[in-house]
C-alpha cells in the first residue's frame, strides 16, 4: 500500500532523499549551538577572556548562517518533493480512472473518486512534507541531544533517560485513549451532517408539515452527543500539557539539585549546566514532535489506502490483441446473454436472444429494474456480458477495439452530461473536426437547432458547468445531436427524450427515419408513445425478454405490453406533458 504511494515520487525522488540530509545538517548545527554557548560562558566569561568570547561568538554566528542555509534548502526540497508527489498521485489516479470500465466507476462512485483526487491527495502532500522535515528532525534532535548530554555529564544524563521513558509512556497512553474517542467523534460528525443534509434536501417536506422544531431537536440531540464526546476526548488530550510540564519541571528541579552538587564538587561547570537546561527542552520538544507525527500518520493512513486502491485498480475490461477496426453494419445479435453487475451476484439479464437487422428501429420497454437500460449498455460494451455473446455486424463486441466500437455504436446515456465550454465545443465531442455546418445539421436532426438559434450567442453560447443554463429537454436534445455527429452505425437512446415534450419527441423520430435510415436505432423508454412506431419492440420484465414483436402483434399476444398500454393510454400514465 505504502509502496504504491512511494513509487510515485519518480522525478522528485532525489529531492525527497536530500531533504532529510539537509535537515540532518541543520539539526546537528542546532544541537551544537548550545554547546558553543557553554564554551562562551566557560572559556570566555569564567576564564575572563574576551578573545574567547569573540571566538566562540563568531563560531556561533557562522553556525547560525550555515544552519539557516541548510534550513532553507530543506524547506525548499521538502516543498518540491511533496508537491511533486501530490501532482504525480493526481496524475496517476486520473490516468487510471480514464482506463476504468463502467463497472469500476460504479464501484467507486463519482464522489468517492473526487475526494480521493482532492482531499486525500492534500492530506498526503501535507503528511509527506511534514514527515520529510520533521520525522528526521525529531529523532535526530533526540539522539544528538542525548549524546551531547552524555558528553557533558553522563551521570546527570540518566535523569534524561528516566524522563524520556516516563514521558513516552504517558504520551502513548494519552494518544491511544484519545484516538479511540476521535474515531467515535468522526462517526458522530457523520450523524450530525446527515441531519443537516436530510433537512436541507427535504426542506419542502419539513416546511409543509411544519416540522422545524422537530428537526431542531434532532440536530440538538446530535450536537449534544458530539459535544459530550469531544469534551471527553479533548479532556484526555489536555493531559498532554500537564504531563509535559511535569516531566520538564521534574528535570529542571533534579538538574538544579544534582547540578549544584556537581558544580560544588567541581565535576560540572556552570556553563555546562546551562547547556543541559537547553538540552532538556530540546529532548522534550523532540518527543512532542514524535507524538505529533504519530497522529498525522494515523490520520493520513486512510488517505494512503484510498489512493493506492485507485492507482492499483486493474480495469476489468481488456481489449483484443489484434482488434477488428471496422463495424460492418448495424446488425445486432444477442446469443444466450446473461449479465450480472457483481461477480456471482444476481443476474440482471437472463438468457437474452435477439436478432436486430441493420437500419431497424427497435423499441425497448419495461418498468424500472426490468433491465432495459442494462440491455442497451451491453451493446456498446459498457459492460461485459457474464455469459453468452453479443455480435455487431456479425463480430463479437469483445473483438473490436473499444474506441472504434464506441465511435460506431453511439449511446445517449440516461443521465447525460454537458461540459463547460460552448455549445459547439460540446457538440464536437462527437466529432472533433466537425464544421459548424455539420454541427448545425446534427442539431436540426435532433430538434435542437430550433432553440439554439434563438439564443443570443447561438452555437457559441457558453454552457455552464453541468449544463445548468439549459432545461432538461434542451440538454437531452443537445446530447442526441452530439451522438449524431459520430454518424454511428448503431444509435442507442436510453430514455433520452423523457424530458422532451411529446410533439418534439415525435418530430425527432421522424427526422431519424428520414435522415439516418441506415443506422440501427434502439430507443429505450417507458413511454409507449415513444416506441409504438418502432419496427419491433422488446418487452422487458424482471431481466427477461417477454416479447419481441411489432406494436400491433404485441397488443394481441403480450399481456405485459397490453397492461402497460392500457395504463398509459387510459389509466395510470397519460404523461403528455414535459417532465423534468
Amino acid at each position: 500500500m505504502y509502496k504504491t504511494i512511494l513509487r510515485q515520487f519518480k522525478q522528485y525522488k532525489t529531492a525527497a532523499i536530500l531533504t532529510p540530509v539537509w535537515t540532518a545538517a541543520e539539526v546537528v548545527l542546532g544541537v551544537l549551538i548550545p554547546y558553543v554557548t557553554a564554551s562562551i560562558i566557560d572559556k570566555g566569561i569564567n576564564a575572563g577572556s574576551m578573545p574567547n568570547v569573540y571566538k566562540y561568538g563568531l563560531y556561533m554566528v557562522g553556525m547560525a548562517f550555515l544552519s539557516l542555509l541548510f534550513g532553507i534548502l530543506a524547506g525548499r526540497f521538502a516543498a518540491y518533493s511533496s508537491t511533486g508527489i501530490a501532482a504525480n498521485l493526481r496524475d496517476a489516479m486520473y490516468k487510471n480512472i480514464q482506463r476504468f470500465s463502467f463497472s469500476d466507476i460504479d464501484k467507486y462512485s463519482t464522489a468517492g473518486l473526487v475526494t480521493r483526487m482532492t482531499t486525500d491527495v492534500s492530506n498526503i502532500q501535507n503528511a509527506v512534507q511534514m514527515l520529510l522535515r520533521v520525522s528526521f528532525r525529531a529523532p535526530l534532535n533526540l539522539i544528538s541531544s542525548v549524546v551531547m548530554c552524555f558528553f557533558i555529564n553522563p551521570r546527570l544524563s540518566l535523569i534524561f533517560l528516566v524522563a524520556i521513558v516516563i514521558l513516552a509512556t504517558l504520551l502513548t497512553l494519552i494518544i491511544m485513549r484519545a484516538s479511540k474517542l476521535f474515531q467515535q467523534i468522526f462517526r458522530k460528525y457523520d450523524t450530525l451532517n446527515a441531519v443537516v443534509q436530510e433537512n436541507v434536501s427535504a426542506i419542502r417536506v419539513v416546511k409543509a408539515y411544519v416540522r422545524e422544531h422537530h428537526e431542531l431537536s434532532k440536530l440538538d440531540k446530535a450536537a449534544l452527543s458530539l459535544f459530550r464526546l469531544n469534551i471527553k476526548a479533548e479532556a484526555i488530550m489536555a493531559l498532554n500539557g500537564p504531563v509535559m510540564n511535569l516531566v520538564v519541571y521534574g528535570c529542571i528541579i533534579s538538574l538544579s539539585w544534582f547540578g549544584a552538587h556537581y558544580i560544588v564538587e567541581g565535576s560540572l561547570t556552570t556553563g555546562q549546566l546551562t547547556s543541559l537546561f537547553s538540552y532538556v527542552m530540546m529532548v522534550l520538544q523532540a518527543l512532542m514532535m514524535l507524538s505529533m507525527i504519530f497522529v498525522q500518520l494515523t490520520q493520513s493512513a486512510a488517505s494512503v489506502k484510498r489512493i493506492a486502491q485507485v492507482i492499483d485498480e486493474e480495469p476489468d475490461m481488456t481489449e483484443d490483441d489484434s482488434p477488428v477496426e471496422n463495424v460492418k453494419d448495424g446488425s445486432i445479435e444477442f446469443n444466450n446473454v446473461c449479465f450480472s453487475y457483481k461477480e456471482g451476484g444476481d443476474y440482471a439479464l437472463v438468457d437474452i436472444n435477439l436478432r436486430i437487422e441493420a437500419g431497424q428501429t427497435i423499441g425497448i420497454i419495461g418498468g424500472t429494474g426490468s433491465g432495459k437500460s442494462t440491455l442497451g449498455s451491453l451493446i456498446s460494451r459498457l459492460y461485459d456480458v457474464s455469459k453468452g455473446s453479443i455480435k455487431i455486424g456479425g463480430v463479437d463486441v469483445r473483438r473490436y477495439s473499444l474506441n472504434r466500437l464506441r465511435n460506431q455504436v453511439a449511446v445517449v446515456l440516461q443521465n447525460n452530461t454537458l461540459f463547460s465550454g460552448t455549445v459547439l465545443d460540446n457538440l464536437r465531442w462527437g466529432k472533433e473536426d466537425a464544421t459548424e455546418e455539420e454541427c448545425r445539421q446534427a442539431c436540426i436532426s435532433a430538434c435542437a437547432d430550433e432553440f439554439i438559434s434563438t439564443l443570443p450567442d447561438g452555437y457559441n453560447t457558453v454552457v455552464e458547468q453541468g449544463g445548468a443554463n439549459f432545461s432538461g429537454g434542451q440538454k437531452q436534445r443537445l446530447c442526441i445531436a452530439r451522438a449524431l455527429l459520430k454518424s454511428p452505425k448503431v444509435l442507442i437512446l436510453d430514455d433520452s427524450t423523457s424530458a422532451v415534450d411529446t410533439a418534439t419527441d415525435g418530430k425527432i423520430r421522424q427526422t431519424f427515419a428520414e435522415r439516418i435510415p441506415g443506422t440501427t436505432k434502439i430507443i429505450i423508454s417507458h413511454r409507449i408513445l415513444s416506441i409504438q412506431h418502432a419496427d419491433k419492440i422488446v418487452v422487458m420484465d424482471d431481466g427477461r425478454v417477454k416479447g419481441f414483436d411489432t406494436h400491433d402483434n404485441l397488443l394481441k399476444t403480450n399481456d405485459i405490453y397490453k397492461d402497460i398500454y392500457t395504463m398509459q393510454t387510459s389509466g395510470a400514465e397519460g404523461d403528455f406533458d414535459e417532465t423534468k
Binding site: 560562558i41 568570547v53 556561533m60 473518486l113 510540564n245
Partner: protein
C-alpha cells in the same frame, strides 16, 4: 480534517483576504455570552501558568548566583537552603501546572460549548428562512457552512485565541523580567524581535501572491476533476480519454508549480526565525560577556533595579530571550489564521443574517376531530374549515422583473379536484408553492375559506394543507416514524390505519421488521414506488382538509403503479385537491383541468370539453401539433 486548500508547512499561515471586524466581533460576543466566568478563569490560569514558567526560568539565575557560586570552594557546603528553594519552586510549578490544565479544560468547554450553541443557532435560524433561500443556493454550499466554516471557527475559538493571549502574556511578562535584569541586553533582544516580526510579515506579503495563485489553481483543478469525473461515463462513451488526460496534465503541472512556489516561501519562515533567534543569542551572549567582564556599572549597563550584570543574570537572560522571541513569530501566525477564519465566520453570519419568513398572520387553524378542522374568530368562536381555496388576479415572480405567473384566477370549492397540466416552466408547481406560502405573491389575493392566507398563522396554514411531492424525501429512522412525520401525536394504530388506507400496508408488512424497519434518508433500501407510498401515507396521517399533489412522472413497475394510484384516490376522497397531473386517470377524474402555458391559464374545463376545443390541450394529449 484539513481541507484541500491547506498545503503549507506547519506553523505558517499566509495573510489572506480581509479581516471583517464586525463578524469577528459577533463571534467574540457569542463566546462571551455564556462563558463569562469560564473566560475569567482561563485568563487567570494563563497568567498563573505563565508566571510559573517565568519563575522557573528566573530560578536558574538564583540557582547559580545565590546558591551554587557561594558554595563553591566551601569545605562543608550546606545544601539545605537550596533544598528549601527547590521545594518552593516545585510548589510554584505544581500550581502553574494545575492552572495550565484547568485552562485547557476550560478552553475545551468554551470552544465546544460555543460550537454547540452556534450549530443550534444556525440551524434554528435556517429553519425559519423562506424557501427561496434553499432554492437559490446549491445544497453543497449550505452544507459547507455547517462542516468547513464551523470547523475553522472551532480552530479559532479553541486554539488561536487562547494561544494569542498566552503569547501576549508571555511577551509582556518576559519583557518586564528582562528589563529588570538588564537594560542593554533587553534592547538587543527587542531589536531582534522586531527584525523577526518584520521578516515574518515580509515573507508573508511576498508569499501572498503565490498563495492566491495556489488557491486559484486549486479551485480550477478541483472544478475540472469534479466535472470530468462526474461525466466520466460520457468521456468513455465518446472515447475522450486521451484528450481528458492531456488537459488534466497541463492543469496539474500548473497547480504543482503554484503550490511549490507558495510552500517554498512558507517553509523558509521556520529556519529564518529560528536562526535569527540564534543570532540574537550570540549577540546577547557576547555583549553580556563584555559587560560582565569589564564590570561596567553605569546605570545603563544595569537592570532596572540597578543590579549589576552577573554570570547568573546572563544565563537567565539568554533563556528569557528565547521565550521572548518565540511568541513573536507565533503572534504573527495567529493573526493570519484569524484573518483566514474570518472568511468562514463571514459565511456563518451571512446565513444568520438572512431574513426570516414573514409570518404576520394571527388566525389559527386547528384539527379538532378525526377529520375536522376549525378556525377561531377573534370573538373565540370556532368555525369548521370547509377547504375552499380561491386565487384572484395573482401575479408572481421569483426574481424581480422576471414574471412567471400572470393573472391567475381560479376557485376550488370544497371537495373539488383541480388538475394542472402544461409543459415545463408553465408555472404549475409555482401555483402550488403559493397556496401554502412557500413563496409570497406580488399581486392579487389567495383566499382560504374566506380568509386571506396572509392573515392565517403560517404554521397552522401549512398543517392544514397536505402535500405529496414529486420527489420523495424520507428521513433516516423507522418506517412508522416516517409516517408519523405527518402528525407527531398520531398513535401507532393511526399510522398503520393511514398506511392501510393508502395501500402501503402490504409492502411494509413484508419488510424484515415491518413498521420498525429502519430506512436511510435516501431510502436506498426501498424502491421508488414504495417510497412514494410512504409519502402518501405520511400525508394521510395528517388528514388535512386541502391536498396538494405533485404526481411522480418516473414510471415504476405496473403493480406498484396501481397501488399508488389507488392510494392517491383514497387520499383525495372528500378533500379539496390541487394536483399537478401526469396520469391520465387523474386528469379524467378532475373536476377542472387548468392548462397552463408560460405562466397563464390558457384553457380550462373538463377533458372532453378541452379536447373539443382543439387547442393546446388537444395538442398535448395527442402529441400532434395542429397547423
Amino acid at each position: 480534517m484539513r481541507g484541500p486548500g491547506q498545503g503549507h508547512g506547519p506553523g505558517f499561515t499566509p495573510p489572506a483576504g480581509k479581516l471583517k471586524l464586525s463578524t469577528v466581533a459577533r463571534l467574540f460576543g457569542l463566546i462571551l455570552k455564556d462563558n463569562k466566568w469560564r473566560i475569567a478563569i482561563v485568563l487567570l490560569c494563563i497568567l498563573v501558568s505563565t508566571l510559573a514558567t517565568l519563575a522557573s526560568t528566573l530560578f536558574t539565575k538564583t540557582l547559580l548566583d545565590d546558591y551554587v557560586v557561594p558554595m563553591i570552594g566551601q569545605a562543608a557546603p550546606d545544601y539545605s537552603p537550596l533544598a528549601v528553594a527547590l521545594v518552593k519552586l516545585a510548589a510554584v510549578l505544581i500550581i502553574g501546572m494545575g492552572a495550565s490544565y484547568l485552562h485547557s479544560i476550560m478552553t475545551v468547554y468554551i470552544s465546544q460549548g460555543t460550537l454547540k450553541t452556534l450549530r443550534h443557532n444556525l440551524f434554528e435560524h435556517m429553519e425559519r428562512l423562506p424557501l427561496s433561500y434553499f432554492d437559490s443556493r446549491s445544497y453543497g454550499d449550505i452544507m459547507s457552512v455547517y462542516t468547513n466554516d464551523v470547523d475553522t471557527l472551532r480552530q479559532v475559538i479553541g486554539q488561536t485565541i487562547p494561544r494569542l493571549f498566552q503569547s501576549l502574556v508571555t511577551i509582556i511578562s518576559t519583557f518586564v523580567s528582562m528589563i529588570v535584569l538588564s537594560i542593554p541586553l533587553s534592547v538587543i533582544s527587542i531589536v531582534m524581535a522586531v527584525i523577526m516580526y518584520i521578516v515574518t510579515r515580509k515573507l508573508g506579503t511576498l508569499s501572498k501572491r503565490y498563495f492566491k495563485k495556489r488557491q486559484e489553481m486549486l479551485g480550477k483543478v478541483n472544478g475540472f476533476i469534479e466535472e470530468m469525473v462526474s461525466g466520466q461515463r460520457v468521456v468513455k462513451v465518446y472515447c475522450h480519454e486521451q484528450k481528458a488526460i492531456e488537459q488534466f496534465s497541463e492543469l496539474n503541472e500548473e497547480l504543482r508549480k503554484s503550490v511549490y512556489n507558495a510552500n517554498k516561501i512558507g517553509n523558509i519562515v521556520m529556519p529564518v526565525n529560528g536562526n535569527l533567534g540564534n543570532l540574537g543569542y550570540v549577540f546577547i551572549a557576547t555583549a553580556g560577556a563584555a559587560i560582565a567582564l569589564s564590570a561596567l556599572t553605569g546605570w545603563y549597563f544595569c537592570g532596572l533595579n540597578g543590579s549589576v550584570l552577573t554570570l547568573g543574570t546572563l544565563v537567565a537572560f539568554l533563556t528569557l530571550h528565547k521565550n521572548f522571541t518565540r511568541p513573536v513569530t507565533q503572534i504573527s501566525n495567529e493573526i493570519n489564521s484569524i484573518v483566514m477564519a474570518s472568511a468562514g465566520s463571514d459565511r456563518v453570519y451571512d446565513l444568520m443574517d438572512q431574513k426570516e419568513e414573514i409570518n404576520e398572520g394571527k388566525v389559527i387553524l386547528e384539527k379538532t376531530g378525526d377529520c375536522q378542522w376549525c378556525w377561531k374568530t377573534p370573538e373565540g368562536e370556532s368555525i369548521p374549515l370547509k377547504g375552499e381555496v380561491s386565487l384572484s388576479d395573482v401575479d408572481f415572480s421569483y426574481v424581480e422583473g422576471k414574471q412567471v405567473l400572470y393573472d391567475i384566477n381560479l376557485t376550488a370549492y370544497p371537495g373539488q379536484k383541480i388538475a394542472f397540466v402544461g409543459g415545463t416552466g408553465a408555472g404549475k408547481t409555482t401555483i402550488t408553492n403559493l397556496i401554502n406560502r412557500f413563496y409570497e405573491i406580488q399581486d392579487g389575493k389567495i383566499v382560504y375559506d374566506g380568509l386571506d392566507v396572509r392573515d392565517i398563522e403560517k404554521d397552522s396554514l401549512r398543517r392544514s394543507l397536505g402535500i405529496v411531492l414529486q420527489e420523495t424525501h424520507l428521513f433516516t429512522g423507522r418506517i412508522i416514524d416516517n409516517i408519523r412525520y405527518g402528525r407527531l401525536d398520531a398513535t401507532d394504530l393511526e399510522c398503520i390505519e393511514a398506511a392501510k388506507l393508502v395501500c402501503a400496508h402490504s409492502f411494509i408488512k413484508r419488510l424484515p421488521f415491518g413498521y420498525d424497519t429502519v430506512i436511510s434518508g435516501d431510502g436506498g433500501n426501498l424502491s421508488q414506488g414504495e417510497r412514494q407510498l410512504l409519502a402518501i401515507a405520511r400525508a394521510a396521517v395528517a388528514a388535512p382538509p386541502v391536498l396538494i399533489l405533485d404526481e411522480a412522472t418516473s414510471s415504476i413497475d405496473t403493480r406498484t403503479e396501481k397501488l399508488i394510484q389507488k392510494g392517491m384516490d383514497e387520499l383525495m376522497k372528500g378533500r379539496t385537491t390541487f394536483v399537478i397531473a401526469h396520469r391520465l386517470s387523474t386528469i379524467l377524474n378532475a373536476d377542472y383541468i387548468m392548462v397552463m402555458d408560460h405562466g397563464r391559464i390558457i384553457e380550462r374545463g373538463k377533458h372532453n370539453e378541452l379536447l373539443a376545443q382543439k387547442g393546446k390541450y388537444y395538442e398535448l394529449f395527442t402529441g400532434n401539433q395542429i397547423v
